[in-house]
């Protein structure tokens, strides 16, 4: 039987292999932190990590995800204390909050690869995540702050 690891837990996959990963996460596993936005990889609300890459789960089919490691917003940290999550709270980034699981998951890849990102790095990494409330300036501020927290944490 096919299996997948989600947030360090193994799940058996008994769904159509053409099903989007997002459907599996939300409807079969019950992880509803990842949001459905556009459904065509244009907005970034559904970003999760698939073997460490910030994929859009609305267009990623189960056949690609089977056998791989998925991390969702619920699994980014054990106690909700990833530097980005702490910074997001401290800066009070969200307005409606709908896009922010995707924003944070994209930012997590950025911080992993660029621990001390410049504004240009942030623009380059976050350009695919849309926020209808326009919280971009707070997102930028929080990412810089998270980089500081990450450094302090060592």
């Amino acid at each position: 039987m096919n299996s997948i690891r989600i947030n360090k837990k193994k799940y058996t996959v008994d769904v159509d292999s053409e099903m989007p990963l997002l459907w599996f996460l939300r409807d079969h596993v019950g992880l509803t932190g990842t949001k459905y936005g556009c459904g065509v990889a244009q907005c970034g609300a559904c970003v999760v990590h698939l073997d460490g890459e910030a994929v859009r789960s609305c267009v990623t089919k189960m056949k690609r995800a089977i056998g791989k490691e998925v991390i969702t917003i619920e699994g980014l940290s054990e106690h909700g204390d990833h530097p980005l999550q702490l910074a997001w709270k401290e800066v009070d980034v969200p307005q409606c909050g709908y896009c922010h699981a995707g924003q944070i998951m994209s930012a997590a890849v950025l911080l992993r690869e660029r621990p001390d990102p410049t504004d240009q790095d942030i623009d380059d990494a976050m350009t695919g995540n849309i926020c209808r409330c326009g919280t971009y300036s707070r997102i930028r501020k929080a990412i810089h702050h998270a980089a500081e927290l990450q450094k302090q944490k060592g």
């Binding site: 994929v55 950025l110 690869e113 990494a125 695919g128």
Partner: protein, 214 residues
Amino acid sequence: MELYKEKRPLGKIRFTVTLSVIALFLIGIVSAFSEEASYAATSGGIYAAVKKDSVKSVNAFKKVYAVLQSPRCMNCHPRGDIPLQGDDNRLHAMFPKRGADGKGILAMKCTNCHQTENTVGLKTPPGSPEWHLPAATMKMVFQGRSAHELAKQLVDPKQNGNKNLKALIAHADDGLVKWGWNPGEGRTSPPISHAEFKEAWITWLTTGAYAPKQ
């Protein structure tokens, strides 16, 4: 007899003049292709086992060029580091960047959205295994290149990833190249079939890869 003797020198002159005219005509033809000829001669080992035919080569390249300038090919061979999209070659939404390996950067890797096959529906990400742009060290720009410039660039080992004739011919069957003829909904295919393109591509390469005149 005297009359006959007088006519023979005249005949020699006519013969000489005729030969000269033919020679001048041939020189004219050769010089008309001098640019292509010198290019072919200076392009090194890639032309081993090639039967040179500048006219046939340049004619074949017209077809090749029409394909390479079509949106399906040009969109991943942009002038800058942001891919293009659509039949109007507009900048890719979200402005993803090429990255060193051509596969995007940070949270904006090509395959984060582009799958191994086209996503069903209009305005959805097209897909093929190994979706990427040319690497930063070998950008292989198509956008804005004249036929002359593109022909020279394609066979220049310094610009084509050090591809030899065999590798260039094989590239016609690259999965991402062939995707151009299976582009998914709402995207036009190149102007000729893949088989016609491949034939023209091989003809162009094996007749000397002559660059059309500027």
